[in-house]
């Protein structure tokens, strides 16, 4: 009986991974035949048989073994091969179990119910989450990894939840008259706009009275009041979500705001935004104007104080002085950081916007 052992491929390495067997259990092999392949971090190595005889395989592919470990026997006679009891052999191989697991990896193992043998198969001395993720991918090819962009968004959502003590207020605004003013303004001034452009315009108007709402949070404990209202819009026209910024909206009229928003819509459509288009946002408007969306409670972007939710128009039947009347309703929501803003301030802020929307806003 002759042994096939893991050779010393490189003095700097103490183990190798068995990547394949090129013969089957019980095959008759000849001296010089390639019977197995190994892999180290530096090289791939073929193992040749140094003997003629019948092979008894006692190791597994994809496992790592220390140099000198017996991985198979070669028997000159078939009877000896058939009568061999590998469990009686004291030189029988043992899987390497010396590895260290990082703390996050431990939690990952527990969460994903990864067995010790699966970890051993990795054949590495320091087991990290990254290594285990590969293992999960390997074990279940039907698993689909999250999109990296969605993961980034999710990270921001988590930071927002963790760091911002958020409160929310929702106002129901009757915009029946506002709609009439919008239509007459379009006819009179000759440019197109709707509630998206109007809300950015109104936010610019309230900036001076409510500068705190447009602040930037610094180091999670301080805030800095901005010198202008830089309004980000959550724009999704089927090409992915973008949040371009209408800078200095407090100094823009309705037409220039409408033109700027049109520019962003075309850029979203043609996918030719520049990094400057997304810079210096200090207040975000979440557009949720798809039909039948009553309201969406948005997440405050980390670093900002507020986010305003603009929702779709709804019809409402009311009885006014005994007469049935149809009103158009807009739900306007404000999520705000409670460290800086109280409920009464948030209420005043929305009332100011409501008042502007009901006035002749183009003056």
């Amino acid at each position: 009986m002759n042994k096939i052992i893991i050779p010393n491929v490189n003095n700097n390495e103490t183990e190798a991974e068995l990547t394949s067997w090129d013969v089957k259990e019980g095959d008759l092999v000849k001296k010089g035949d390639i019977i197995a392949s190994l892999q180290t971090t530096k090289a791939d190595v073929d193992i040749e048989s140094e003997f003629d005889g019948y092979i008894k395989i006692i190791s597994e592919v994809n496992n790592s073994y220390e140099v000198g470990t017996t991985i198979a026997y070669i028997f000159e006679e078939i009877e000896k091969y058939e009568n061999f009891d590998s469990s009686a052999d004291t030189n029988n191989i043992e899987l390497k179990k010396t590895y260290t697991i990082t703390k996050p990896a431990e939690l990952f193992i527990e969460k994903n119910n990864i067995s010790e043998s699966e970890i051993e198969k990795l054949g590495i001395s320091l087991v990290k989450v990254k290594d285990l993720e590969k293992l999960i991918e390997k074990s279940d090819p039907s698993l689909i990894e999250f999109d990296p962009i969605q993961k980034t968004i999710a990270t921001n959502v988590k930071i927002s939840h963790d760091q911002i003590p958020e409160a929310f207020i929702l106002k129901k605004i009757n915009v029946t008259e506002t709609l009439k003013v919008i239509k007459s303004t379009i006819d009179k001034e000759g440019f197109a706009f709707d509630f998206t452009e109007l809300i950015v315009f109104c936010l610019g108007k309230v900036f001076e009275k409510f500068p705190k709402f447009f602040s930037k949070i610094e180091n999670n404990d301080f805030y800095k009041v901005s010198s202008s209202a830089n309004i980000g819009l959550t724009l999704d026209i089927g090409k992915g979500l973008f949040v371009p910024v209408i800078s200095n909206s407090n100094n823009m009229n309705l037409k220039s705001i409408s033109t700027k928003i049109m520019e962003f819509k075309m850029k979203a459509l043609r996918n030719n935004f520049k990094s400057d288009d997304f810079a210096n946002c200090n207040f975000t408007v979440s557009l949720n104007t798809e039909a039948d969306t009553i309201f969406v409670k948005p997440i405050i972007f980390p670093g900002q104080v507020c986010i305003l939710s603009l929702n779709s128009l709804q019809k409402e039947i009311v009885i006014d002085d005994g007469k049935v009347q149809e009103n158009t309703i807009l739900m306007l929501g404000l999520a705000y950081d409670h460290r800086m803003i109280n409920g009464s301030e948030a209420n005043s802020f929305l009332l100011e916007i409501k008042s502007l929307m009901e006035s002749d806003f183009n003056n």
């Binding site: 000759g190 440019f191 197109a192 706009f193 709707d194 026209i237 409408s258 033109t259």
Partner: protein
């Protein structure tokens, strides 16, 4: 050209061309929303091989204003 523009509008808004006219305006046609407005611009640009500026796009509020801009570019 007028018929061609109406035909494009009909396809973009997915409505019968008979429901459109030279008096059609954005504010009176529910299918002419902000999203279909963008699609209309792209379809017109492709059909006539022209390009609109952002300033021009916001001033397109009805068939008449659309036609005027197209004529100035051809």
């Amino acid at each position: 050209m007028e018929e061609k523009v109406l035909e494009i509008m009909s396809k973009t808004f997915n409505i019968d061309v008979l429901l459109l006219s030279k008096k059609t305006s954005k504010k009176d046609l529910s299918q002419w929303d902000s999203m279909s407005h963008l699609n209309l611009i792209i379809d017109i640009e492709n059909e006539f091989n022209i390009s609109f500026s952002n300033e021009e796009i916001v001033t397109i509020i009805d068939f008449k204003s659309l036609l005027k801009i197209i004529k100035n570019k051809i």
